[in-house]
Symmetry: C2
Subunit: 380 residues, 2 copies
């Protein structure tokens, strides 16, 4: 068990009929003007928009709407949000949506106090101040509702980078699994695979952190079983709830306790991939790269990855487990190879270069440019 | 999954060489005078006292010592602590020890703002204000280092009651598993059984909260394996760490998420038992009563308790699992029957009466006076 600090101040309000509480919660904290941030029409179609709007109006909370957040949120849209905050004197950001909306909310919250927001994502300045953030989660997966991290894309430079700061933890996140039953199936799957992948980034570093490893295995198995159930019945509330909460704790500090911060090489490779091909959903990219990466690093943590094969996939061999994992992802409808997405082999070196652009990657095995290309080949 | 709120603001600093950080952490928060609360000589013998003292002195933090906290902390000693706070104008409580010391710290912290502290434990007034609490944990088990609850004994009335409030969550808790290797074996065991029992209080309510149930099973298995390892080698750091962190998350809101608040009947019965016989350690009382209680309520949650038998004890039948559980507790050196503690059958009705004195008990099955006596008979 590596030394660690756990310090997660986000208040989670979880369950049915919880969205309407947002107005009262904001009022209790003395907040009367928010930027209401969301993506497209999905929150209007599933009734969330109306519930939020009514709750705000009923509690005399003014709101400036800023919609159109993209699945991979981008800097230019964020900058418009920052300007809206400044022009209107809002005192908090209310993000209603999934991880992308929440990530952009964090960017706006930090950007309200920075002369140049991208400098923070580029690691040139530290984020020490932010507007308070509140979230209503409508799709689980990223875990952004209960951590201080945000990923943003600079379309101009094709860079997808992240920031992390204590002031970016949402004050309150409301998670109502019921609203997630209206999601398209592929989004449910991508969210689940994203959360499995967050857990894997810690799991690959596993050695002797028994309680954390065991909890990670609980997360894997709960998500797999929830997705299997939801594929049969998308209205299964218990499976929606299990998937949602498992996804939150996958990245709120609990699953990663004592894991030395995790590896995160696969996320960096995937960010490079989806920076070049923004149409690829994060979860899909992870579904393709993670099995390939596990094969590549197997020899560096054999005993532990054999445990993964046995405890999570009920397989006698690691090879068999990876095939089972890929077959499971495929059975949920996910792509499991780069070739399916029409990525060409001649793009590998550009992806590898981008993955290594900001800093070194890979803790279990420090990855060279050639290593990343090799992983992409396995994933092809 | 029942609706739930998770809101745990305690900052955990976990691992080796962490105790010396206390002075700096207090200084960062502008705290310069604390009540330094502890039990007996164990923190002096294992070097913790010296480390804390030096860290406080090095950061110019004044401290008033208040030692002699008992294993079941009592009201009269707490009241002396409250007077010390008032007389000396301390602005925070620093608890160094196990759950008893932390529980008394919470009592003192709340008592500093109340005309009559026992009124709060008696449920007559609400705790809304408290001095900030900091803890250095030297024995794991109660989970008090990361929650807002406190159990206190009124020796005069033989009442062992509890309070719970958001302001009683410690601001910072430092957990260094290394110091726990100096504990007497029976204290390590009692702490582990206490944490298993906290988890069981939620587990018995299990139905369809898959992720939480699975995490609870991780906690059971990690603690069992840690205690087995520590019985062979008390210096096994990884097992100390796994036991410590599993005990913390057993009662910090994670293991109980969506479980409807848990049952807690067994804790109430144990509190009644140890109110009458304060020499009985809480963990020992739980080791005896829980298996008996599980037998008594089996028919009310059969499918789930069969899962418990299989997943936790690797047994085909529930009956066999309970015998395995008792044998395991016994192998660690714990008492597993009331008769071993020289409790007489004619004391059962007094214990039952006391258990039911404050409110009703039992959610899975509402327990009558006769039910409690029946459970005690099984535990005899």
């Amino acid at each position: 068990m590596n030394n660690f600090i756990f310090n997660n101040p986000t208040k989670i309000i979880f369950g049915r009929n919880t969205i309407i509480q947002i107005g009262e919660e904001l009022k209790k904290l003395g907040i009367y003007k928010v930027l209401f941030l969301y993506g497209g029409n999905s929150i209007k179609n599933n009734g969330t928009y109306e519930q939020v709007r009514n709750s705000l109006i009923n509690h005399n909370i003014e709101f400036i709407e800023h919609s159109g957040v993209q699945p991979n949120p981008i800097l230019t849209h964020t900058e418009i949000g920052i300007d809206l905050c400044k022009e209107n004197g809002v005192t908090a950001i209310l993000a209603v949506g999934g991880g992308s909306v929440i990530d952009e909310a964090k960017a706006i919250a930090a950007g309200a106090y920075l002369p140049n927001l991208w400098d923070a994502y580029a690691g040139k300045v530290k984020v020490t101040q932010a507007l308070p953030i509140f979230t209503i989660l409508t799709i689980s997966g990223t875990g952004s509702e209960m951590n201080g991290s945000s990923v943003l894309t600079n379309s101009e430079t094709e860079q997808k980078w992240f920031i992390s700061a204590h002031c970016l933890f949402p004050k309150i996140s409301i998670i109502n699994p019921s609203v997630m039953r209206t999601l398209p199936w592929n989004q449910t799957v991508n969210g689940g695979i994203d959360a499995i992948s967050h857990t894997l980034e810690n799991y690959v570093m596993g050695k002797d952190q028994e309680i954390s490893i065991s909890i990670q295995e609980s997360i894997f198995k709960s998500i797999i079983s929830a997705l299997d159930n939801l594929q049969i019945d998308k209205n299964n509330y218990e499976s929606r709830a299990s998937l949602a909460w498992a996804s939150t704790i996958a990245l709120n500090g609990i699953a990663g306790a004592g894991m030395g911060g995790g590896d995160w090489a696969v996320h960096r490779i995937e960010h490079a991939l989806s920076a070049i091909r923004p149409d690829i959903a994060h979860g899909t990219g992870l579904a393709i790269i993670f099995p390939a990466y596990l094969k590549f690093v197997y020899e560096f943590n054999k005993v532990h990855l054999d445990r993964f094969a046995k405890n999570v996939w009920n397989c006698d061999s690691f090879e068999e487990a990876i095939e089972t994992m890929k077959a499971k992802y495929k059975s949920w409808g996910s792509a499991i190879s780069l070739s399916e997405l029409n990525i060409e082999e001649n793009q590998f070196s550009a992806i590898a270069k981008k993955a290594l652009e900001q800093t070194e990657i890979g803790k279990l095995k420090n990855l060279s440019n050639e290593d990343v290309i090799e992983i992409l080949k396995i994933a092809f």
